[in-house]
């Protein structure tokens, strides 16, 4: 009886474990199946590099969206990475463990706030502020970058903290014993030793930023054009899919799936990169 139970549990666990992987495979297959035929028919070059997006006229160039996604992600990095890494250094090197035990979960709670709430704050507070202080329509590349920069903070901070804390205490002691100041120890020894983890945290943050949809739709304004300044309105790849999917039929629908294929490829590249960087750290130890 107990033997069957043992085996049964094992099987159930195997099924649940593989269901997650097969879901991923099915999603990948489905997107590729719907999107690739369109890319082959329309031509990858035209699809990626033409800047006219007019589904009604049969023009499907996603270059402005690709540019927008890259710029928004870059902007989010500029805002989020320094803040996140600095915050992680401060929290792990300067704050007592007991305080940290309160602050870290609080920061991780930021990740639990729904993106629509971030978007709402962006629309109600940030966009009017940008419009009155800097000009432009307010709903802009800049607004999206700032909101996304804040949204990736929990990812960057918590992974960076983990990797900084994983640096053996003896490294710090050795550096201090050689006469280095606290700051010299941090930037020449600790951060350097934790480098791969910090880089991985930034790459994972990038993955989150490039894949974010709701908040970007709400604050970026969604104009299909190549941005000339940070105050211009932009439409990201994710926003393009989400905005038009409910109406799209035929070729238009396929083009949106093809947009998904491009996004999927970009995110897979980013994530594999993060995994490789993280693995290198483990190997070093």
């Amino acid at each position: 009886m107990s033997l069957i139970g043992e085996r049964g549990v094992r099987r159930i666990l195997a099924v649940t474990a593989f269901s997650a992987i097969s879901a991923l495979l099915l999603i990948a297959l489905f997107i590729l199946n719907e999107g690739l035929p369109f890319i082959f028919r329309y031509g990858l070059h035209d699809f990626l590099l033409k800047s006219d997006w007019d589904p009604q006229a049969g023009k499907f160039g996603i270059y402005p969206m690709v540019a927008a996604s890259l710029w928004v992600t870059f902007g989010a990095m500029v805002v989020g990475a320094p803040l996140g890494v600095a915050g992680a250094i401060f929290l792990s090197e300067f704050v007592p463990k007991s305080v940290m035990r309160v602050i870290k979960p609080t920061i991780e709670l930021l990740a639990a706030i729904p993106s629509v709430v971030y978007g709402f704050i962006g629309v109600m507070v940030l966009a009017p502020l940008i419009r009155t202080q800097l000009g432009g329509p307010g709903l802009s590349l800049l607004a999206a970058s700032i909101i996304l920069g804040i949204m990736i903070l929990p990812t960057v901070i918590s992974i960076s903290i983990d990797s900084i804390q994983a640096v053996p205490q003896s490294y710090r002691e050795g550096s201090l014993a050689l006469g280095a100041t606290t700051w010299q120890t941090i930037h020449m020894v600790t951060v350097r030793a934790a480098k791969s983890g910090i880089i991985a945290s930034i790459i994972l943050g990038m993955g989150r930023a490039i894949g974010e949809t709701m908040a970007v739709i709400m604050v970026a304004g969604n104009a299909v054009k190549i941005p000339h300044s940070a105050l211009d309105s932009v439409r990201s790849l994710t926003a393009n899919i989400a905005l038009e999917m409910s109406y799209a039929t035929g070729l238009h629908r396929q083009a949106l799936f093809a947009t998904g294929v491009i996004l999927f490829v970009v995110i897979i590249i980013l994530n594999s990169f993060a995994i490789v960087v993280l693995r290198k750290r483990v190997y070093k130890k």
């Binding site: 009604q56 709903l139 709400m218 304004g221 969604n222 104009a223 054009k225 905005l243 109406y247």
Partner: protein, 264 residues
């Protein structure tokens, strides 16, 4: 214990099933236009209160979904708010149940009160870029439009004609977000369903005609689109009864009091 729970649970399901089937209800599904959806819900509610044997479900999805689901049979009635029905809708029987004005809206802080149709066209084409060119303050115009494929956008572009939307236009994906964007930006201009106007935004006159129920009914305000109910084949049974109810004096009155324009 476990068995008892399962036993009770299945009993509950059986009871629910019997209760559900007991009255032998006819169910009708409407799907499509988000502009007509709230009105259809209201009408369905009224109809069901007097016809206990019918259960009506109203879904959104947009006009394209309305056409598709009427063709596929996913919904008995498709709702579409298009000026010109697409080619594939030829196999469906259309009934105009209401009309809907599309209002051009500005932020209340904007002092412009009238635009000509030509000015509207040039604003949305990006030829007129500053409010001072149409008698307003010296500030750049923020054009706000709907996403490609939206029924409101295609109706608007077909009625105003010769619009190729400026690339600077912000795109919002519903009447509600258009309203919020315009309410938040003193330089914005957008368009939305006449039934959804409120005090946070201000509708302007087009060719000196205000966007009101009276002027739309009189045919003076020009940006008006029909709302179609689409049925595969001839409407029959409860589907026909429901459409007849919408077209009846009571149904049309509901349409009028909730902000749309009656069909006749």
């Amino acid at each position: 214990m476990f068995r008892k729970t399962i036993g009770l649970f299945s009993l509950a399901i059986v009871v629910l099933l019997i209760a559900g089937c007991g009255k032998n209800k006819t169910s009708i599904t409407l799907a499509g236009s988000t502009a007509f959806q709230p009105f259809a819900e209201k009408l369905a509610e009224q109809y069901m209160s007097t016809h206990a044997n019918v259960s009506i479900t109203v879904q959104g999805g947009g006009s394209a979904v309305g056409v598709q689901s009427a063709i596929s049979g996913a919904a008995q009635i498709g709702m579409a708010d298009l000026v010109v029905l697409p080619e594939e809708a030829k196999q469906l029987t259309p009934t105009i149940v209401a009309r809907d004005g599309i209002a051009l809206v500005l932020n209340p802080a904007n002092k412009v009160i009238n635009l000509t149709m030509q000015q509207v066209r040039e604003v949305f084409n990006g030829k007129i870029k500053n409010w001072k060119e149409v008698g307003g303050a010296d500030s750049p115009i923020t054009v706000v439009s709907r996403e490609a494929g939206s029924g409101t956008r295609s109706s608007f572009e077909q009625i105003v004609t010769e619009i190729s939307l400026t690339k600077d236009a912000l795109i919002q994906d519903s009447n509600g977000t258009i309203r919020e964007t315009v309410a938040n930006d003193p330089n914005a201009i957008g368009y939305l369903s006449h039934g959804l106007l409120n005090e946070k935004i201000r509708a302007i006159k087009i060719d000196d005609q205000e966007c009101t129920t009276e002027l739309i009914t009189a045919g003076k305000y020009k940006i008006v689109r029909p709302i179609f109910l689409l049925v595969k084949g001839d409407p029959q049974g409860e589907v026909k009864n429901f459409i007849d109810y919408i077209l009846s004096a009571e149904g049309q009155n509901t349409i009028k009091t909730t902000g749309l324009i009656p069909a006749k």
